[in-house]
């Protein structure tokens, strides 16, 4: 059986690397997110470049994961090197199965793609969900179990503070405004008031303690950004 990989990139260097590293694969190239979405293959494996002409690779991954037809694709994202754990975490959070800083070591890259394809063929397509847990150094957060701990000490968060923490974890490195937090976390629009967001974030920072609480930064006049 010939292994097929859909390659979404406009970069000649990335294309050349893929052709060399994936000899024997059937490669289909798409120069933009738009071209790939028009084809929207329902299965197989897609290698997606981080910066496409019309969309970021991680946004494209989120779109593909959210659609019934494409959610079962195996997604491999590549980012511009050097390797960044934060960039990798965002890609995984958006549904990536693999993440490589470019250029990856060709044999390792090929082996992991072959494994990924083998698993998806053997087990059948499994829907990708949000990560079961987030771990950063001593901080461990499990959205499903609704538990958060630093080391062995459980954090005593209110339901709202917990939801706020998970929202930040899922949107690392992105500026989120207070009104968006009200809409997405409080789920009641503006009724709760913008001040209640500030108060709750102060409480969350305090409970997280200095090493992690300080990662929730205020972007003056705009909102907040969470960077680990």
């Amino acid at each position: 059986m010939t292994l097929t990989a859909h390659c979404v990139t406009s970069d000649a260097g990335v294309s050349a690397f893929l052709k060399a590293a994936l000899k024997g694969f059937r490669l289909k190239f798409y120069p933009s997110a738009g071209a790939f979405l028009r084809a929207a293959p329902g299965g197989g494996l897609a290698v997606i470049d981080a910066f496409l002409p019309d969309m970021s690779g991680r946004d494209l991954a989120a779109v593909l994961r959210g659609d019934q037809k494409t959610r079962r694709l195996s997604l491999v994202l590549t980012g511009a090197g050097p390797y960044s754990p934060a960039a990798a975490a965002v890609c995984f959070d958006n549904g990536a199965d693999e993440y490589f800083a470019f250029p990856p070591e060709p044999r390792l890259f090929r082996a992991r793609l072959v494994n990924l394809l083998a698993r998806s063929c053997a087990a059948g397509p499994a829907p990708a969900e949000k990560p079961a847990e987030y771990r950063f150094k001593a901080l461990l957060v499990s959205p499903e179990a609704r538990t958060a701990q630093i080391g062995r000490a459980a954090l005593k968060l209110t339901a709202l503070e917990f939801d706020l923490l998970v929202y930040f974890l899922r949107n690392q490195g992105r500026v989120v405004s207070r009104s968006v937090l009200l809409e997405q976390v409080w789920r009641q629009g503006m009724e709760a008031g913008l001040r209640s967001v500030d108060k709750r974030i102060e409480a969350l920072r305090y409970k997280l303690g200095r090493p992690f609480g300080s990662k929730i930064k205020t972007v003056f006049g705009l909102g907040y950004i969470f960077k680990l």
């Binding site: 933009s32 997110a33 738009g34 979405l37 028009r38 929207a40 910066f51 002409p53 019309d54 969309m55 970021s56 946004d59 989120a62 779109v63 593909l64 959210g66 659609d67 037809k69 494409t70 949107n171 490195g173 992105r174 500026v175 989120v176 405004s177 207070r178 009104s179 968006v180 006049g221 705009l222 909102g223």
Partner: protein, 125 residues
């Protein structure tokens, strides 16, 4: 002296409007803003911006419809439009890109990425 590129930002959500406007200004652009699609279409016709950052879910008409109307203005037929929106459904994204969008950015967005896209759209290659 070279003219600063003109960027029009259209979003009904004041925080995002302000964030995007600030990012465009930091990228060296002269920024105009509108909070509704129709206001955005009128401002685009009047100002002839070099690029447009356009929300999709606007209160009066959709960002897509606004883009269609803007494209009908001869001077704006090829203006780069970047949609920035929470709408991540595949069909919506595909439709936006089919409209000839220069980019599609999901909210909440990475400020660096938005800045890169604005610069790529307004600066000559």
């Amino acid at each position: 002296m070279t003219r600063r590129p003109k960027v029009l930002v259209v979003d009904d959500e004041p925080d995002y409007l302000q964030i995007a406007a600030r990012i465009a200004a930091r990228a060296g652009c002269a920024v105009f803003t509108a909070a509704t699609a129709l206001e955005g279409v009128a401002l685009a016709s009047a100002q002839k911006p070099d690029m447009i950052l356009l929300d999709v879910g606007l209160p009066d008409i959709s960002g897509f419809e606004a883009a269609r109307r803007i494209r009908k203005v001869p001077a704006l037929a090829a203006v780069p439009i970047i949609f920035f929106t929470v709408r991540s459904e595949l069909d919506m994204v595909a439709e936006g890109l089919k409209l000839g969008a220069a980019g599609y950015v999901l909210k909440p967005f990475d400020p660096d990425e938005l800045s890169r896209r604005i610069k790529a759209a307004v600066l000559p290659a």
